[in-house]
Amino acid sequence: MNKIWLIIKREFTTRVRKRSFLVVTLLVPLFFAAMIVIPILIATNSKDEKRIAVIDESHLFLNRFPDNKGVYYKYLENISVDTFRHTYKEYGYSGLLYIPRLDINRPSGITYYSDAQPGIATESRLNRHVNDLIEEERMKQANIDVEKVHAFKSDINIDFQTGEEGKKGNSAVAYGVGYASGFIIYIILMFFGMSVMRGVMEEKVSRIAEVMISSVKPFQLMMGKIIGIAGVGLLQFLIWVVLIIGVQLLLPLFFSADSISSLQEGGMQSAGNAAAIEAMEKISFVLGSINWTVIITCFIFYFLGGYLFYSALFAAVGSLVNEDPSDAQALTFPITLPIIIGIMVMISAVQNPTSSLAVWGSIIPFTSPMVMMARLPYGVPGTVPYWQLGLSISLLILGFLATTWLAGKIYRTGILMYGKKITWKEAIRWIGRKS
């Protein structure tokens, strides 16, 4: 036990002390931080006024576009579009909206000229304004009371309740959380699995393996490496969690509440302030619809379980590789294949979490770490009954005990086998050999 601890310590410290560990550990949260910060910066910077020139030859829209949050419309008359579309910038406009003489029933030829892409928000805002006004004009022509029509409009969201306690659910949030956690598990399996494989290859190719095997059992050497690298992964996670929480806490200090609310505004578009607050409440409400304790506990379990399940197999592959690293590619294929099938089943499961493909995918240990994480946000025991979760967990535990045992047998022989190219067929024969 003492020896395996020494090995774990070495695997852990040599990796953590590497420069690449620091780089990856800091870059990933920076990347996430950038994803949060950049839109805010853009929103903050684009706060300066957008002045849009309007040439309205139909005279239908004159002074009827509402100025809103830094977007101002200026109605110009007696100016030719053909000349002004080349010179609007000189007059300080960011764009030119041209409305030709229109047949209100068949409007066409409305054009917006600008140098830069106007952005999705501006585009949809302009479209909506023009459509609203044309609709109103048509109603007027048909003698329909516009006020009455507005009064008829309905804006209702169906209340989706799931589970017996009538817990409010939200498929979009479950989809997002399920997809993200399934995908993170996939990346973990690949990244850390390959890391284990490279470590074993390094030991074999540099011939330290034989020196080590004269002091420790091959199984201790393999498990020490697997556990040491798992420790690196967990530490990295912990740092990320701390950094992400830290960034979120510090964020308001760097950006005024105003700029954040203006970011939210972008999403809310023309909706009023009250509506924005209501929407925010709704988001926090649906986020609350997910049982985070279950998700986080299961995430850690499936992360570790899946990692242990696959890393032993990756270690076995590493032990089969000789000098030629290109051998590794052919040898890893049978192991990466089920992981790739897993991510495909996960993508289908997150859309349809109760299909039989999703259910079996979340139970069979080859794919369960990814697929189960895709299903869990839809609710336990609503979407995922307890028996399925229990079966999946026990099979994964049995699974990693089995793969570790099998891989240990292959590893023990492979790590000392030099010179010869080893095939899977041969390696599988070693499993049957008595110690």
Partner: protein
């Protein structure tokens, strides 16, 4: 008289007697006894019914051409492989891989160190894996690093060292836990003559201090210089084993070199007692005939009144024995590497 005898006996304290007997027992016992060892691989028999003993404190040579089964044999002795059949006794009892592994230092032919690790940390790590406490390990490493004058390497990465320098580090990591059994597979390959000599002296020192050494090689001149006993294996089978001196005796061809005071003429060497193999002036190399002895040769020259200035037997080198024995077991093939 009987009374005096009793006093004499009782004056010997019993504990001393017992401990003396114990030491005699320890030093006369075999550190390793290998009995009918077998190991089969999928395609061939790697070790086929090999038995031998390694006495405590000896330097034991394991010889054989490439692919003879030496490495497999060593891996079984170190507990890395389990034999298919037979047993290995270590200090008189079956090898226990949990405790006895610390009593072994193994330097494999294919050497390796973690390239990115610092020399000092690496030595410390390997020493701790051999069961030393950290403090103890540091002291030992310091002792050996001082002795080999490599203290300045502590913070260097292994990949920055030359092959010979790495070899020294490897040798130190093999011996720093004071193993009872030291297994060296081709310890001199890649070393310059100065470092070779340094390691050789270290091997002799360790042997004097009671370490048993298994020395696997195909460099025969080193075998004669270093080993007390050898075993020769080929194709998984033992061809011969025994003391180096005894083997040379066993394989002697009864060849003698004779220095004479004057060059003998043709008639003076015509005899049924010996046959001339080589003649260089007054120096003869002769083979003794069956049924004759050395005195017959001397009498022959004395009879002609030719003075004999020197006379000694030429024993075969281990190299000659090796080639002869390997070729006998596989006449169609040349020994792979010698």
């Amino acid at each position: 008289m009987p009374k005096a005898k009793a006093i004499f006996l009782s004056s010997f304290p019993a504990p001393l007697l017992i401990s003396c007997a114990f030491f005699i027992y320890i030093y006369s016992m075999n550190l390793i006894e290998v009995k009918n060892l077998r190991k089969d691989y999928a395609t061939h028999k790697a070790v086929d019914d090999i038995s031998f003993v390694i006495p405590q404190g000896s330097i034991f040579g394991l010889l054989g051409p490439n692919g003879a089964g030496k490495t497999t044999l060593l891996r079984m002795i170190t507990g890395i492989f389990y034999p298919d059949q037979g047993e290995i006794l270590f200090k008189g009892r079956p090898f226990d891989s949990h405790t006895d592994i610390h009593a072994i230092g193994y330097m494999p032919e294919e050497r390796g160190l973690y390239k990115k690790m610092k020399v000092g940390e690496q030595a410390l790590y390997l020493a701790q894996l051999k069961g030393l406490k950290e403090k103890e390990a540091r002291e030992k490493i310091k002792y050996w690093f001082d002795k080999f004058e490599i203290n300045s390497w502590w913070n260097k990465k292994v990949e920055e060292l030359s092959k010979g320098m790495q070899q020294k580090v490897q040798f130190i990591s093999t011996i720093m836990h004071n193993p009872d059994l030291l297994i060296l597979d081709e310890p001199f390959s890649g070393l310059d003559p100065i470092n070779s000599n340094l390691i050789k002296q270290e091997i002799f020192d360790l042997s004097r201090n009671g370490t048993t050494i298994i020395f696997s090689t195909h460099r025969m001149e080193q075998v004669e210089e270093i080993c007390d006993r050898i075993i020769l294996v080929n194709k998984g089978q033992k061809i011969l084993d025994g003391e180096v001196k005894q083997i040379k005796q066993d394989f002697k061809q009864h060849v003698f070199r004779i220095g004479l005071g004057q060059q003998p003429n043709f008639a003076q060497v015509a005899t049924h007692h010996f046959q001339i193999i080589k003649q260089q002036g007054a120096d003869l190399t002769v083979k003794l005939a069956d049924g004759s002895n050395t005195n017959d040769i001397l009498k022959h020259f004395i009879g002609y009144n030719i003075p004999v200035t020197s006379f000694h037997e030429i024993l075969p080198s281990i190299n000659e024995v090796f080639i002869q024995q390997v070729q006998q077991t596989e006449p169609a093939l040349q020994p792979a590497t010698i």
